[in-house]
């Protein structure tokens, strides 16, 4: 179903595959367009949502990975970088969700990283909430929705997973 990248997620709809998570989210938004629109309707707002989702994808995963695969000075730098990225996102607005009153595309792009915060905090010995309280209250707001809380991975399990990965990769 994904011969090019051989990766997940893949959405299969009526036998046809769609690959790359943000492309899948846009596909879902276009096919099931009558319910809970994920992208705003205004083209400029849509561009902002896409820009920041791209920013998250470009920066956050790699920065997070550095936290659990390094130690000492390198790890300190990684933690600083991670917090800086989150602070930029925190500044994006004062509304309940990123683009307004309803959970949408950009919230979806970021909330999935929330499950990893506990693991990074544990392995990096720092508190994300202390540095980015606004972001954490946004995350908790998202988690009040069952569609989010019931589908995200258990933060404790993710932490255990990373501890195991560290051993396997020989990073202590």
């Amino acid at each position: 179903m994904n011969p090019v990248h051989k990766k997940i997620p893949v959405l299969i709809h009526n036998g046809k595959p769609v690959c790359e998570s943000l492309i899948i989210v846009q596909y879902i938004d276009e096919v099931w367009k009558d319910k809970a629109p994920l992208l705003p309707s205004d083209p400029y707002q849509r561009a902002q949502a896409r820009f920041w989702a791209d920013f998250i994808d470009k920066k956050l995963y790699d920065a997070g990975r550095k936290i659990w695969t390094t130690k000492g000075e390198e790890q300190e730098a990684a933690k600083k970088e991670y917090i800086e990225i989150l602070k930029v996102l925190e500044e994006l607005g004062d509304k309940p969700y990123f683009m307004g009153e309803r959970l949408g595309f950009l919230d979806i792009a970021l909330i999935t990283f929330y499950s990893w915060f506990h693991a990074y905090e544990t392995l990096g010995s720092f508190s994300i909430e202390a540095e980015c309280p606004k972001l954490i209250s946004w995350a908790k707001r998202c988690m009040q929705k069952e569609s989010v809380s019931k589908s995200l991975a258990d933060p404790k399990k993710l932490c255990e997973f990373l501890v195991e990965m560290k051993k396997r990769l020989g990073v202590e």
Binding site: H13, E20, I23, Q26, P43, Y44, R46, A47, R50, D54
Partner: protein, 223 residues
């Protein structure tokens, strides 16, 4: 003075994606050249504080950055001469190949940033990705977009003009008619479209500019 301004740099294929999209849709725009290598303007830093790069599209005073994001904005704001298909699955495919082009750019440009054995290896890696692109992205279609040019064609537009210059400078043949017949045919078709051909930068100016870039990359690699 038009409502649309493009901040760009003449050698950048990313900038051309935006220019081509606007020309294909018949949208008037003002163009502003930015000296991105040596002297980024206050205007650029104001309009793209996050990445500080071109292209930036400014429409009615509001800036948009990142060429893929700009293309989607152009498509939604000026729907004439559509660059994306109507069918959601086809749209997802077009977006997939655009992202492929972005994700694989290090592999695709590797031949230009290296020399000797490293360059041989990098060229092979780039060609592997181009093989995937040719067989699975383009297939038997006239354009990536189907019978008509689309957003994915613009993403790979650099293959039609920049690749040849870069290959000449780097001294490697990346694509030719025998090894990549379908991509090669697509390149000829793409270059023939007036809106594509007309704004292309001067080839000898490109040779000079990219020779300098290659020298810089190789020097950086050595240090």
């Amino acid at each position: 003075m038009s409502q649309v301004t493009v901040l760009g740099a003449w050698p950048s294929p990313y900038v051309y994606r935006v220019i081509w999209a606007l020309k294909l849709k018949g949208v008037d725009y003002d163009y502003v050249e930015e000296d991105v290598l040596h002297n980024k303007s206050d205007r650029l830093l104001k309009y793209n504080p996050v990445h500080k790069k071109v292209p930036v599209l400014v429409h009615a005073g509001k800036p948009i950055a990142e060429s893929a994001v700009i293309l989607e904005y152009i498509e939604e704001t000026w729907p004439q001469n559509p660059l994306l298909p109507k069918d959601p699955h086809q749209r997802a495919l077009a977006r997939f190949w655009i992202k492929f082009g972005e994700d694989k750019s290090a592999a695709l440009f590797g031949f230009f940033m290296t020399e000797g054995e490293q360059q041989e290896k990098a060229t092979k890696e780039g060609q592997e990705q181009l093989r995937i692109l040719e067989e699975q992205g383009l297939g038997e279609k006239k354009f990536f977009g189907g019978d008509e040019i689309g957003m994915a064609d613009l993403e790979f537009g650099w293959l039609a003009w920049w690749l040849d210059v870069m290959s000449e400078i780097a001294g490697v043949k990346v694509i030719d008619a025998e090894s990549f017949p379908r991509l090669h045919a697509w390149i000829q078709r793409f270059k023939d479209i007036p809106a594509i051909k007309e704004p292309l930068p001067d080839r000898s100016a490109m040779l000079t500019y990219f020779k300098g870039r290659r020298a810089t990359f190789l020097a950086l690699a050595k240090s």
